[in-house]
């Protein structure tokens, strides 16, 4: 199993600003994933973060808007840049544990 910690758990931000979300895993993992969950919706994969290489983004998501860092095998950050109210969502970090995917508790972001 894997234990994932995300920071912050929630934040309220002004439009036009940026927020960096941190994800810490208690074990080394090759791949980490970032998801967005808009209010009342399902999870949408933003990107896959690999250590030592650039993140791979899903259709509809771009690096300029959601830059990702992956400095080591236990940590990743997702930045939501130049925020607008449409970015209000829960952002979740996930890792593959060999037999299942584990998720953090999420970061609830509200953009005002």
């Amino acid at each position: 199993s894997a234990v994932i910690s995300q920071k912050p758990s929630r934040d309220i931000c002004q439009r036009g600003t940026s927020l960096t979300i941190q994800c810490q895993v208690d074990s080394q993992v090759t791949m980490m994933f970032w998801y967005r969950q808009q209010p009342g919706q399902s999870l949408t994969l933003i990107a896959t973060a690999n250590q030592g290489s650039e993140a791979t983004y899903e259709s509809g998501f771009v690096i300029d808007k959601f830059p990702i860092s992956r400095p080591n095998l236990t940590f990743s950050t997702l930045t939501v840049s130049n925020m607008s109210p449409e970015d209000s969502s829960i952002y979740l970090c996930s890792v593959w544990g060999g037999t299942e995917a584990f998720f953090g508790q999420g970061t609830r972001l509200t953009v005002v």
Partner: protein
Amino acid sequence: GESVGLHLPTLSVQEGDNSIINCAYSNSASDYFIWYKQESGKGPQFIIDIRSNMDKRQGQRVTVLLNKTVKHLSLQIAATQPGDSAVYFCAENPQTGNQFYFGTGTSLTVIP
């Protein structure tokens, strides 16, 4: 991403009854599926998984059925309890990595 959808967005059942939650997926090459449960304010939690070489898998009070011919999954919960009230998601792994694509979600409410 892949298209994974659910037939019913909400489901209400009486405590003690059985629940059935359905899911359709679009990628016939997907070979691994997971059902997740998400309680309010929490990240998704693994319930049960199934690989494409199986038609049925049983866990504790839960059964997942896979029909590859029509690309359909179902989650059956026996003797539903109030603690089962949550949103349930199916997710598929399309063999291109360890990322998962999630369905719309079904909100299950158990009536005492």
